[in-house]
């Protein structure tokens, strides 16, 4: 049900209702009980197989109960007041209310006709206009809101108000702003929807197995185990999902399992690849680990965006895990980086759901984080960047796939903690464990890293200050120290009240104290600086976003302003807090996600800059050796924003923008 009443009500109300409308929201939504035959509940009703009957009737009852409501008579009073009629009798109000409600419903029902004939799922203001025209009423000219206009809410003095905010527009602003781009003209584009019964997996077509289905298969194999019933499955499933509780859905699904064909229990999964797919697989894997960086970028791009890789997932996953196994032994840093970038690309693909392959991927990624040695010359090569990158990957995996049943996050945390706590752990592994933990978020840092700071500080000091045992250890300790400082400072800045005292820090964190203290101070300063910037950046970003919703092809446009306007921002935490408080509870979803967006995208940029410059490393394929690193760092920095906001891959937003950029959008 895609109708938003606010979408047309404003236009209905605007001219007569000058003032805000004291209309309770409930009555608004019910005043326009718009029957959308597309709505799931109706569909369920349409096939009233005998046992479903009662159920559907119940649902309908629920629905229709709403439909008899009317506007509150208070609204009439306000309208009357706005027209200059001060005293209006209660009885008159009641009469008016009845009449107005009836007329509004009538018009809404007529408007629906136009929506249907216009082949749309969404009622627009023009539909209302045409419906008015049918009734020989002059339509309301000038209300053409294409997008959803949210109702604002305000209360006070015992009154609740829902109103539609109209901003005052300065005409000179409009005149002075440059003209927007001319919208593209309608054009025709042909593609194959099906070739002799098979749907080709091209960007113009939806992915063969939608992510939801993959997810359902992975998490609830029994539920999705009816490919044969797929056709009416969504029908019923949707209806039940929408209205009734889950329990009921299960009840309904039980009978087919019992008396239906047991053969259908197991989902058919085809593991044979077509010739084209085999060729593709070969090309992609070769390009991914080959020496040509341009080709690799293209291949990774393909993995990250192409729909229809679903069937090749098992191969990719095996390729990666085997690749890591072999290359760790051979200490081939470059290849490990390439493989991790493949993992990253797979994770980024909005049409893939990796849950089924996580068991293969996690060990591979973990290896790249905590392995004792990842490269031939640990003293020179920048294997630290790989560890950082892989740590971020693991954090991402945790975020997406950790559930209460598989406990991925807690298992990973345990692994990291165990190796960190161990006295004999080498510095490389130690670094990886800390990086892995730190990437898991502030809570993890607070509970697991901060308490151990003192102990760790001692250990670092003993290496750095003590007799020179080995250069490698020294470098390791150095890295661990900067890592700890980097991750802990923002957290501490948030936790501790402002006066930062060197001694207090030393008392609490031991030898790392003074350094920490200065870092925290720096973090605070940057946060304050940021706070000023934040308002500006958030503003620009929301603008960018709103633009991008109207004009598809958002992905790139949104990321670039973020990375460019705020190039080197460290105090991430501050940013979050200030940003979330700055725009108060306006529209919860939109701006909220924007802020998170910035936050997560920041650290990698800073790091990516530092990484390759400080440690240029000559590793096996000499020509391309710096590129994997810079590439990885870059790709970490650039692509992170796309899916970093926690619910990203699931949310329609990223899903929606992806196809936009990938597909039927024409080349201008």
């Amino acid at each position: 049900m895609d109708i938003r009443h606010s979408e047309f009500l404003p236009s209905l109300h605007c001219p007569p209702f000058v003032g805000p409308l004291p209309v309770s929201h409930v009555s608004f939504s019910s005043a326009c009980p718009i029957p959308l035959p597309g709505s799931p509940s109706l569909h369920r009703g349409l096939h009233p197989s005998r046992e479903e009957k009662r159920d559907s009737r119940m649902a309908e009852e629920k629905k229709l109960k709403l439909s008899n409501t009317v506007l509150p008579s208070e609204s009439m009073k306000v309208v009357a007041e706005s027209m200059g009629i001060a005293q209006i009798q209660e009885e008159t109000c009641q009469l008016l209310t009845d009449e107005v409600s009836y007329r509004i419903k009538e018009i809404a029902q007529d408007a629906l006709k136009f929506m249907h004939m216009g082949k749309r799922q969404k009622l627009t203001t023009s539909d209302i206009d045409y419906a008015l025209k049918l009734k020989n009423v002059e339509p309301l000219y000038g209300f053409h809101a294409q997008e959803f206009i949210p109702f604002r809410f305000a209360s006070g003095g015992g009154r609740e108000l829902y109103f539609y905010e109209e901003k005052e527009v300065d005409l000179s602003d409009i005149i002075n702003t440059p003209l927007p781009r001319v919208p593209l003209d309608v054009c025709l584009k042909a593609h194959w929807l099906s070739i002799e019964g098979c749907q080709p997996a091209i960007p113009e077509n939806p992915p063969p197995a939608p992510k939801e289905q993959q997810k359902a298969e992975a998490t609830e194999p029994l539920k999705s185990a009816k490919p044969g019933q797929e056709e009416d499955g969504p029908l019923k499933g949707k209806g039940q999902g929408a209205t009734t509780a889950d329990g009921k859905g299960k009840e309904k699904k039980a009978p087919p399992l019992l008396d239906g064909a047991p053969l259908r229990l197991k989902p058919r999964s085809i593991h044979e690849l077509s010739v084209e797919q085999q060729l593709y697989y070969k090309e992609i894997t070769e390009a991914c680990v080959g020496s040509c960086e341009a080709k690799r970028a293209e291949a990774l791009q393909s993995i990250a965006t192409d729909p229809g890789l679903y069937q090749m997932l098992p191969r990719f996953s095996t390729f990666i895990s085997e690749g890591v196994r072999v290359n760790v032994v051979q200490n081939n840093l470059a290849l490990l980086i390439y493989l991790m970038r493949m993992v990253k690309a797979l994770m980024d693909n909005p049409t893939l759901y990796l849950e089924k392959y996580v068991h293969e991927l996690i060990p591979a990624v973990m290896t790249c984080i905590v392995s004792r040695q990842l490269c031939l010359r640990p003293d020179v090569d920048n294997h630290w960047a790989l560890r950082d990158f892989a740590a971020r990957l693991v954090a991402q995996i945790c975020k997406h796939f950790s559930t209460t049943t598989n406990n991925i996050q807690s298992r990973i945390t345990k692994t990291f903690t165990k190796s960190w706590v161990d006295e004999k752990t080498p510095w490389t592994t130690r670094y990886g464990s800390i990086a892995g933990l730190a990437e898991l978020g502030h809570d993890v840092i607070k509970t697991l890293i901060l308490p151990r700071l003192q102990q760790e500080g001692e250990r670092i000091r003993s290496v750095l200050d003590g007799p020179v045992l080995s250069n490698i250890d020294r470098i390791g300790a150095d890295h661990v120290q900067s890592l700890l400082l980097k991750h802990c400072a923002p957290v501490l800045a948030k936790l501790r009240p402002p006066p930062d005292n060197q001694d207090a820090y030393r008392a609490e964190f031991g030898s790392l104290g003074p350094l920490l203290c200065s870092h925290v101070v720096k973090a605070r300063a940057q946060a304050a600086l940021q706070a000023q910037q934040v308002n500006r950046t958030t503003l620009t970003i929301t603008q960018v976003l709103s633009l991008s919703t109207s004009a598809p092809g958002s992905g790139s446009t949104t990321t670039s302003p973020v990375t460019t306007t705020v190039p080197s921002v460290q105090p991430i935490v501050k940013l979050v807090s200030t940003a979330t408080t700055a725009p108060p509870s306006t529209a919860p979803s939109g701006p909220g996600s924007v802020q998170k967006y910035i936050v997560v995208s920041l650290p990698p940029t800073g790091e990516g800059k530092g990484g390759p410059t400080s440690h240029p490393s000559p590793v096996p394929p000499p020509a391309s050796s710096p590129s994997p690193l810079s590439g990885s760092a870059l790709c970490g920095g650039k692509q992170e924003p796309g899916d970093s906001p926690p619910p990203a891959p699931g949310t329609p937003k990223t899903n929606g923008s992806q196809p936009n950029s990938g597909s039927p959008q024409p080349a201008p």
């Binding site: 597309g38 309908e60 009845d98 009836y102 309608v186 044969g228 056709e231 329609p652 196809p659």
Partner: protein
């Protein structure tokens, strides 16, 4: 047959001359339904509605007009009715005539009245004496027991003696009688001259019982029905909905608002879910004043709700109501319902569910009894060495009949005519031009390369996505040879694309044309202006969203219908508008060219479909009878019939020759949005907002299949060129392919099923579904099979 022959000649005359052959002004009925549309005029032109009004010049135009109508009506009205229902002829006809006379007298058309009376050999007394039968009906309602016996006596006969009943099936009379469709509204109220129809209609609600008892009555009946035997329960449950509606309306009309409200609250949950759209309208209707302009309400009042009930069940109900002395309910049954009683086993719940759902109940059995010539016309002989095409077409025909497969197909091509085909000249068709012949030859050549489809050989689908269609794509059409695509948009434009390398060119200016050597061989090429060549041409002219578009078969014209109430004819030679056909005063939802060109049909919000010829600015026929918007219109492949799908959830088939409604198909549970005939003309497939596709056998007038699978409105339907595959496109962003051969394979067309209309639909949608193809958030607005059986689908990408 003699009568038919007579008609043919008559109509042939009518269609040929340029004198407007309008023979029916059925607007009155339509007007009565419209209510608010200002149709309260019963004046001289009242019946004429738009047509008469637009053509009558000045004040005196009114008089001659109806005379024409009536003189046409007399023979036609007398002839087809006996032919259609021979046993019902006399009383039925008489009622109609009486109604016409009443109307004429009222309108002060003495002359016409006299003429008609003489024609019908009726005496003045007879008219006065019998009065309006409708009144008798309502007046006599008090004598319950007497009526009971009367109904039992009369019901078995196919024509009950009440004129509103015949009016509802209206179509049998439509062509003949000026006031045919108006009968339900008018007959009861002839006395009231200046009153709007509404009040007359409503007056039936004047008699009232105790408002507080309504709930009791209803729950009493509910209890009775729920306790009855299983076999009767299903049938009697059909009563719930109409009774509920009428009781509620009675309460509202008599201004018992609170009672009405609680009555609604209490019982609306019992109603079948597919009535919820109507219930929603009802629920908002809480005041007597609201009833005046409410169309849905008027539909309930002006047409009797038709129920089919077996004799046993009916007896049971009757006995119960008699015992309980439940006059209130009995009155409603008497006045507002039409109970079609049949002998034999009561129908099962499934059988009933398949057929109910329309706004006015099921179709009466006799409504679907008349003969329909569903066969194809003989193709003209064109000298082409190999022409397998006809053979294939005929083959299809022969298949289900088993008896005469091959022989017939080979023989019939040249000599024999399909027994089900209409006479070749039943409808005058335009002569074939040379270019048409060329096209036919092309077609045949293509045919030889056609892919034979089947479950193992599915067609490829090429999808044309309209990008950047922010203004909303509302209609699409593709030419038969798949060279052009037209799109109608909500911004009132029509855009025509060429999808072949051949660009669109318009003809040169007149001054340039005069320079051309007219004798040269390539004159057709020379007249085109190369400078205008482009892939896309935009046609401006409408002032509202374009809801329908249709190419003429010869690709020279394009029709478009719009919200602005006009149908426009565009030339594809000059890319300009040639004619604007005005007639529908409200949005025109669909239009389509006849497969032979020249004629076209349109349907719109004014609840009528109109048949036009391109060279007449007035419609030739008006097909009135639907109770709600006509959403889609399609020509039968033989051009002799037109099918319309409506928001009243019925599909009707109309005879182009005489404007009669020859089939009423009920069973859809939502407004119908797509229609298509099978290439052999035998079957009809319809799709509705309920996401289901229903298949109908036209000859037998039966539902023969139900295809479930879509989850949203089915916007487009098309059979493959040989009829093996049915493709359906929907708002749920899928194209689905169905096995049409299997769907029509073993039809229950035995005599029993045909006679009773009881159908048992197999639940085999899953087996019939051959493929489902998701698009990327692109509703499938149009489907087309190329001559080689490649599917072209079209829709606008709608970013979410």
């Amino acid at each position: 047959m003699a009568a038919l022959a007579e008609e043919q000649t008559e109509v042939a005359v009518k269609l040929e001359p340029e004198g407007p052959p309008t023979l029916l002004p059925p607007q009155a009925g339509d007007g009565a339904g419209e209510g608010s549309g200002g149709t309260t005029n019963n004046g001289p032109n009242g019946g004429g509605g738009n047509v008469a009004a637009s053509s009558s010049t000045g004040g005196d135009g009114g008089t001659p007009k109806p005379t024409v109508a009536v003189s046409a009506a007399a023979p036609a009205g007398a002839a087809p009715v006996p032919a259609a229902a021979p046993d019902a002829g006399a009383p039925h006809d008489r009622q109609t005539l009486l109604a016409v006379l009443q109307f004429l007298r009222q309108s002060n058309l003495r002359e016409a009245e006299e003429a008609l009376r003489r024609e019908a050999r009726l005496l003045e007394e007879a008219v006065a004496g019998s009065g309006a039968p409708g009144e008798v009906d309502s007046a006599g309602a008090e004598v319950t027991s007497a009526l009971l016996s009367r109904v039992t006596a009369s019901a078995p006969g196919p024509a009950a003696p009440d004129p509103p009943g015949t009016g509802a099936s209206g179509a049998t009379v439509v062509s003949g009688s000026a006031s045919g469709p108006a009968a339900p509204g008018k007959v009861g109220s002839v006395a009231v001259e200046d009153q709007p129809d509404v009040s007359a209609v409503l007056s039936a609600y004047n008699q009232q019982g105790d408002p507080t008892m309504y709930e009791e009555y209803y729950s009493g009946l509910k209890h009775f029905i729920e306790c009855s035997l299983d076999c009767h329960r299903a049938e009697l449950s059909q009563l719930f909905y109409p009774l509920f509606v009428h009781m509620y309306l009675e309460l509202v009309y008599n201004q018992h608002e609170n009672e009405a409200k609680s009555f609604f609250e209490k019982f609306h949950g019992d109603q079948e879910c597919y009535y919820q759209d109507d219930l929603r309208v009802l629920s908002s209707l809480t005041k007597k004043e609201h009833m005046k302009g409410n169309e849905t309400m008027l539909d309930f009042r002006t047409s009797k709700f038709v129920l089919r009930i077996s004799r046993d069940s009916y007896q049971l109900l009757k006995r119960h109501l008699q015992e309980k002395q439940n006059n209130q309910i009995w009155n409603i049954v008497q006045e507002h319902l039409y109970i079609d009683i049949f002998d034999g086993m009561p129908r099962s719940k499934q059988q009933i569910d398949a057929m109910v759902g329309s706004l006015a109940g099921e179709a009466k059995r006799e409504a679907n009894k008349s003969k329909v010539f569903f066969g194809l016309l003989k193709e003209p002989e064109i000298e082409v060495p190999l022409d397998d095409e006809d053979e294939e077409g005929e083959n299809e025909e022969g298949k289900p009949k088993k008896k005469k497969p091959k022989k017939d197909s080979i023989g019939s091509k040249s000599k024999k005519q399909d027994p089900n085909a209409p006479p070749q000249n039943r409808i005058p068709l335009p002569e074939l031009k040379d270019s048409d012949k060329l096209d036919k030859i092309m077609n045949m050549k293509e045919t030889t390369k056609r892919v034979r489809l089947g479950p193992d050989c599915l067609p490829s689908i090429c999808f044309y996505t309209f990008l950047n269609a922010y203004q909303g794509l509302t209609a699409v059409d593709v030419t038969d040879d798949s060279s052009l695509i037209a799109g109608g948009f909500a911004d009132s434009t029509v855009r025509v694309w060429s999808v072949t390398p051949k660009k669109l060119r318009s003809v040169k200016q007149a001054s340039d044309l005069s320079l051309i050597d007219k004798e040269s061989d390539d004159v057709l090429e020379r007249i085109m202006d190369e400078k205008t060549a482009s892939e896309l041409k935009i046609l401006y002219g409408h002032s509202g969203p374009v809801y329908g578009a249709s190419f003429s078969p010869d690709r020279n014209y394009l029709l478009s219908s719009s919200e602005d109430g006009t149908v426009r004819l565009w030339s594809l030679q000059t890319f300009t508008c040639l004619v604007g056909y005005k007639g529908h005063n409200y949005p025109v939802w669909d239009t389509q060219f006849s497969p032979y060109g020249y004629y076209f049909v349109s349907g719109g919000h004014d609840r009528v479909a109109r048949l036009w010829a391109t060279d007449h600015y007035q419609p030739l026929r008006i097909f009135a009878g639907h109770l709600a918007d006509v959403n889609c219109t399609r020509f039968h492949p033989n051009s002799n019939y037109v099918a319309t799908g409506s928001a009243d959830r019925t599909v009707r088939l109309w005879d182009v020759l005489n404007g009669n409604c020859v089939r009423i198909f009920t069973g859809h549970k939502g407004p119908i949005h797509s229609l298509t005939f099978s290439p052999n003309g035998r079957f009809l497939a319809t799709g509705a907002t309920d996401g289901r596709v229903l298949l109908w056998d036209i000859g037998h007038g039966l539902m023969v299949g139900e295809l479930k699978g879509h989850t949203d409105t089915v916007c487009s339907l098309r059979f493959s060129r040989d009829g093996e595959i049915l493709a359906s496109g929907s708002m749920d962003n899928t194209v689905r392919l169905w096995d049409a051969i299997k769907a029509f394979e073993d039809l229950e067309t035995d005599d029993f099923t045909t006679a009773t209309g009881h159908i048992n639909l197999p639940e085999n949608s899953q087996e019939l579904l051959l493929g489902t193809y998701m698009t990327k958030s692109t509703p499938v607005v149009h489907l087309h099979f190329t001559r080689r059986n490649l599917v072209l689908a079209a829709g606008a990408y709608s970013p979410q």
